[in-house]
């Protein structure tokens, strides 16, 4: 589904991503992990078109999409969320999600200016769809609240609902559980699983190891911009290189916790 081939990007003299390759299969939950500064978010930014790689290739469904702009990638079925929230704070909760449906709406400006009946009907349909997605991520009943009034954990889920409104084939989640308490993390866990169950391929960057181990089909480990290991949760967990390089001195302890 998504093929990342030998990507490379440097900022000044720092090589942030250095020859990373992997393949994400259709309909799996694929996790990217690694210590801080490993290049996970940079990699996400390249895949989603925010940065252009210096070399390497990205293919989506067999089509070369390297260096396409984010809105062009969205048209090809890719969507993402952000580690640091990028919510539309001046809009209501439901409007945030409605923006996500943009590509599936009629974009005739003249019709919008005149508020033709078809535009009104479409607005109602988009809203209904957005409300359904809010319910999916557990934000039902908050539709007309300003997005700025929602707590942090809810905003994280709002971003997921918004990304889903694009009807993506592949969804990139950048630390969906960052800053969430254990209860919120469990909720996000359930949301991700239900998204995958609907046939959306999920690629995820996450620090919460328990979440990653629990829901990922395969895990790709990065360290300082390079691939360290790839495999199932069990394989990665048992890989000594991962335990020492990624988890450092506290590795054994963390690994033991992750096993529970």
């Amino acid at each position: 589904m998504l093929v990342v081939d030998n990507l490379k990007i440097a900022f000044g003299g720092v090589v942030a991503i250095d020859g990373v390759s992997f393949t994400v299969r259709r309909n799996e939950i694929f996790a990217l992990i690694g210590p801080n500064g490993a290049g996970k978010t940079t990699l996400f930014n390249i895949i989603s078109g925010v940065y252009a790689p210096q070399s390497g290739r990205i293919a989506l469904d067999g089509e070369d999409v390297t260096s396409l702009a984010p809105h062009q990638l969205a048209r090809r079925g890719m969507s993402r969320t952000f580690q640091n929230l990028q919510v539309f704070f001046r809009m209501s909760t439901v409007e945030n999600v409605m923006v996500g449906h943009h590509l599936h709406e009629n974009r005739n400006v003249l019709a919008h200016l005149l508020a033709l009946p078809s535009v009104r009907a479409q607005n109602r349909a988009t809203r209904a769809k957005a409300e359904g997605l809010l319910a999916l991520v557990g934000l039902e009943g908050l539709a007309d609240k300003p997005a700025s009034s929602l707590p942090y954990g809810a905003l994280k889920r709002l971003e997921i609902a918004r990304a889903l409104a694009t009807e993506p084939k592949i969804l990139l989640l950048d630390e969906p559980a960052a800053g969430c308490n254990p209860v919120e993390t469990e909720e996000i866990d359930a949301v991700i699983k239900s998204i995958a169950a609907q046939g959306v391929t999920v690629v995820l960057v996450e620090h919460d190891m328990r979440l990653v181990m629990r829901i990922s089909d395969r895990i790709h480990v990065l360290d300082r911009g390079k691939t360290l290991a790839e495999g199932s949760a069990v394989e990665v967990r048992g890989n000594p290189a991962v335990v020492t390089a990624y988890l450092g001195g506290l590795g054994e302890q963390e690994a033991a916790r992750a096993r529970n």
Partner: protein, 314 residues
């Protein structure tokens, strides 16, 4: 009340009623003229608000488009033999075209850089008007022929009151419609997070350009109306000061508030009429009033009132 203060269809109805009923209390031709000036400025500010308040892009050069509209109705009949209404439409089209071609490169910029670029654009238009004195009359300005539509001579404060008022109501209706549409949501999303808008599939460059072109159209129409109302046009219609005034009206009334555009225009047009008693200090007093408003109501008058009402009803 809360929904009314926000942008909604009720606003259009109330505004229509105000335009229709205000003449009952206007005591003289002078007040008709002031009211017409409020509407004309509000048309320009409404467009600017679309760009600044909704899409979040600054322009310090909108007097350029205002001036193109004003000079189009002055020059068109004299040099091209075009009727006034055709000159008005031609000026509007010219402004839209210019906004399209200038907007494409400069809307890549943001924040201060965009502000400076638009300022430069406005200054260029202003210089052309001032320097082509043999055509435009230069600093002396030039007379504007009265518009004739179906043999009817369109002149006088009362006539322009109705034309500007109806245009404003229609303009508000269009903007209200737009804001609650996919286009409006796209514009507003760009204001809050360009990067998020992009990954959701919104062609950010296209929507910024759209807002810029639409705001230029509003400014140009307002400029034409002013020139036709006055029967005279001067380079002031293209001046940097006018660009700033339009921005102040938008900010004072409240960025992102349609009613705010009208309130802002009303305050900045009406207040100087009453400040003439201060003679030489008029601008100082006006400046002080603006500063006080912005210190105590930084989000603008209408949004501040709306949140007071919201707290009251919550």
């Amino acid at each position: 009340m809360r929904r009314f203060l926000n942008n909604s269809f009720a606003l259009v109805l109330v505004l229509g009623a105000i335009v229709a009923l205000l003449p009952l209390v206007l005591p003289s031709g002078f007040y008709w003229r002031v009211a017409a000036l409020v509407y004309i400025n509000a048309i320009a500010v409404l467009g600017l608000n679309l760009l600044m308040g909704f899409a979040g892009q600054v322009s310090l050069g909108h007097a350029g488009f205002f001036g193109i509209g004003a000079y189009a109705v002055a020059l068109g009949p004299v040099y091209l033999g075009m009727p006034g209404w055709a000159s008005l439409l031609g000026g509007t089209a010219l402004s839209a075209l210019l906004a399209f071609f200038v907007g494409r490169p400069i809307l890549r910029l943001s924040g201060y850089y965009l502000a400076i670029a638009t300022l430069g654009m406005g200054a260029l238009i202003s210089m052309v008007v001032a320097n082509e004195a043999n055509i435009t009359g230069g600093p002396n300005g030039m007379e504007v022929q009265r518009m004739i539509v179906f043999g009817w001579r369109v002149a006088g404060a009362q006539v322009w009151y109705w034309i500007a008022g109806i245009t404003l109501v229609l303009g508000v209706l269009l903007v209200v419609n737009l804001i609650e549409s996919p286009t409006g949501r796209a514009l507003r999303s760009i204001h809050d997070s360009e990067i998020a808008a992009r990954v959701l599939g919104i062609d950010v460059a296209r929507y910024k350009l759209l807002a810029f072109v639409m705001s230029a159209v509003f400014a140009s129409i307002a400029g034409s109306y002013l020139a036709l109302l006055d029967g005279f046009v001067t380079p002031n219609t293209t001046s940097f000061l006018l660009s700033i005034e339009l921005v102040v009206m938008a900010v004072l009334g409240g960025l992102g508030s349609i009613l705010g555009s009208i309130v802002g225009a009303a305050i900045l047009v009406v207040l100087p009429q009453f400040l003439t008693v201060f003679h030489d200090y008029e601008h100082i007093v006006l400046g002080a009033i603006i500063i006080v408003f912005l210190i105590f109501l930084p989000r603008g008058i209408v949004p501040a009132l709306a949140s007071i009402v919201r707290r009251g009803t919550a």
